[in-house]
């Protein structure tokens, strides 16, 4: 019995010291004792196969076709009234009119929902470089993306929406395109938000809705008396806009 207990304790200790405890980091793939049907011969997103030459399951989109599971509704696509929308509605998909000029204005309805969508997508995809207020001073600037520019100059304020759409889709100079990450409607939403940022940074007193005007003027006068140097950037911008407002009036 003693010998048995000895061996038993030894085996237990040996097992624990060989296998360790749960949660230990390891680099070899996990062992599958019974592989069952865990790995079936089927194509999965971003998977690998031996059939195609470049071994990728994902196939490039054939021009003029629509991927399954894309933003299209199947019911719409298989309806006999369906027209291939890109040819039908070039403004929405290319930012150009039929005669090849940049679109001015929006081919989608601009409403609060679109603005919110635009803000969400802008925060995800543009903020790292262009910063939250669009002055081009995002976090990546200090790490080397030095050419990011500000939206707040006359060239970009006067630029046609369609041309900005083209910049987002295909990129421009040192900025790469976001066409594959954003659907056309989302790109237009981002442009709507970008326009809002431009107005916010270049606003005049007249742009402030009347109910808030009084409040704003009061808040501007209050810090003017004991002007602390460590003002928040927002206040200084409002100062700017108020001086501008004075000069334009």
């Amino acid at each position: 019995m003693r010998i048995f207990l000895g061996i038993f304790v030894f085996l237990c200790v040996a097992t624990v010291s060989i296998f360790g405890i749960r949660g230990t980091k390891f680099t070899e793939p996990p062992l599958y004792v019974f592989p069952d049907m865990d790995d079936q011969e089927k194509y999965r997103p971003q998977g690998e196969n031996t059939f195609y030459q470049n071994r990728m399951d994902d196939r490039p989109v054939v021009p003029g076709t629509i991927a399954r599971g894309s933003s299209w509704e199947t019911a719409k696509v298989f309806n006999e009234d369906f027209n291939y929308a890109q040819a039908d509605n070039p403004e929405l998909y290319t930012g150009k009119t039929r005669s090849g000029e940049w679109v001015r204005g929006f081919p989608v309805e601009v409403n609060h929902a679109l603005m919110e969508l635009g803000q969400q997508k802008y925060t995800i995809f543009c903020q790292v470089c262009h910063s939250a207020i669009g002055d081009g001073d995002g976090i990546t600037k200090q790490y080397g993306v030095a050419t990011t520019l500000s939206y707040h100059d006359d060239r970009l304020r006067d630029m046609a929406e369609g041309e900005i759409f083209n910049t987002i889709t295909h990129g421009k100079n040192t900025m790469s395109g976001y066409g594959e990450k954003l659907r056309p409607e989302e790109r237009w939403a981002v442009i709507a938000y970008l326009r809002a940022l431009q107005r916010a940074q270049n606003g005049t007193l007249d742009d402030v809705p009347t109910p808030f005007k009084k409040e704003l003027l009061e808040s501007l006068q209050a810090p003017a008396q004991d002007s602390t140097p460590a003002d928040e950037p927002e206040t200084t911008q409002e100062d700017d806009s108020s001086t501008q407002a004075e000069s334009t009036e």
Binding site: F8, T27, T174
Partner: protein
Amino acid sequence: MANIFPKWSNFVPIKIILGIGLVVTAVVAGITYYGTPKYMRVGYQPIQPVPFDHNIHVEQLGMDCRYCHTYVDRSEHSNVPSTNTCMNCHSQVLTDSQALAPVRESAESGEPIPWVRIHKTPDFVYFNHSVHVNRGISCVECHGQVNEMQTVYHAKSLSMSFCLDCHRHPEKSIRPVDEVYNLNWEASSPKEQEEMGKRFVHDWKINPPLSCSGCHR
């Protein structure tokens, strides 16, 4: 007549039963502890071709998961980003870093970077990312604190019981939809989580599948 069996043999049956009991307990305990995904998978941290660091990109730069894992909220599959996504910045940032050499090669040749896959459900299981993340289930529930990982590892077991634990009590892990990508978010107290979760489950008509055909379709 002399005793045929010596006295110690009286204890042999008890000792054998005891011994078998010990061995069986040890084997069962060993298999439950070592034979289940909680041991087999948790902690799997393969060596990646590029030492990509989520902590730098998410915490230090403040990037959203969807900048790279773009399709997580609109499709079943959460994509690993293409080389172009890296080159958006790394065409200008750290252009001579040794660690990024495979990224630059891949951008030139068009061959994808051979990332080693970490999380994988068996092919007979139907899993869908967008239904979860659009209903207030954060990445952290199934992937752990990826935002703090320098190298991603398998943090949760992703076994069938893991899925079912949550499907039976979704109110314990459901959160406001705009906090899904903020992996550091936590309700102020477990009680608050419970109340909020119950409200969401009721308002959004949350009804996770518990029947076999929900996940094995």
